[in-house]
Amino acid sequence: MSGQAHASHFESGARQADATLLGMWLFLASELLLFGGLFALYAAGRFENPSAFRQGVALAAKTVGSLNTGILLVSSSTVAVSVEFLRRDQRHASVICLLTTVLLGAAFLALKFSEYAEHFKAGIRPGGAGPFFATHATPGLALFWTLYFFSTGLHAVHVSIGLLLLGSTAWRVSQGAITSARLYSLQNVALYWHLIDLIWVFLWPLYYLA
């Protein structure tokens, strides 16, 4: 890797790649802590209102949530494969995998918004504001749904940002601006997408399954 192009303030391309990856992992660590607050609130809320949280999970759209889990897991695979293709200098295949990931991410968001629409139609809104809560006054149920909207909503914002990053990276790879010599540019976007998947892997059982 020492032969790759690098910025003047780095001694080598390998050093630049290491620094970039370290910066990305520091960013991912901060993202994990951002979601950590919501996971901690969920833990406390569930500890204090176990039956209300189970009731909330029973009302969640399990099939749509599970379909979205499959979509995200496949998209993580396609982005990992795109990194490997670029490592092999197979740019075209790498771009196709990235675009497939974008399509899968868009499908995730479409399903997520259809899920929100169903909940809103049923009168379930953040903060216990909808008519649903007038007939379902179980203490803790409003907290479950508020956390559900905040956690999955924050996650959806990350998915949207990830889609923009993946799209622009696909464009740059197709134009030859990102090659195997600057693999870390693609690796960082892939890492961000994997983190999105990683967080969903925990949101799914907490809000849809158990």
Binding site: W25, G36, L41, L73, S76, A80, E84, H194, P205
Partner: protein, 106 residues
């Protein structure tokens, strides 16, 4: 092929098989959610989630190949997350709730 490709980079077949394994684990979680596991439902679902997270971390995110400083950054974040959730649970579990005073009749 790029001559500078690291020899320990996961081959394509490993990445595809990892994807299949992740889907199988997700399928197991989904299937188990229809069984009546009672108090074990959440721990079982979270245990499978941890397995999936480790696979993502070590195969797709290549955590094992990171520099020590990057591993420290990620490890510190995980430690802080566990402390946050653990201490929050300890707080709510050990709270002493004084009995409410009887309602006053005016």
């Amino acid at each position: 092929m790029n001559p500078e490709r690291p020899p320990n980079a996961p081959p394509l077949s490993t990445l595809v098989l990892t994807g299949v394994l992740l889907l199988a684990l997700a399928g197991a979680s989904y299937g188990l959610s229809f069984l009546t596991l009672g108090a074990y439902a959440l721990p079982v679902a979270l245990a499978i989630a941890v397995c999936k997270a480790l696979i993502l971390l070590f195969v797709f995110m290549e955590f094992g190949k990171l520099s020590t400083s990057a591993k420290l950054a990620a490890g510190a974040a995980l430690l802080m997350l566990l402390l946050l959730v653990g201490l929050m649970l300890a707080d709510v579990a050990t709270r002493v709730r004084p009995p409410l005073p009887p309602p006053t009749v005016s």
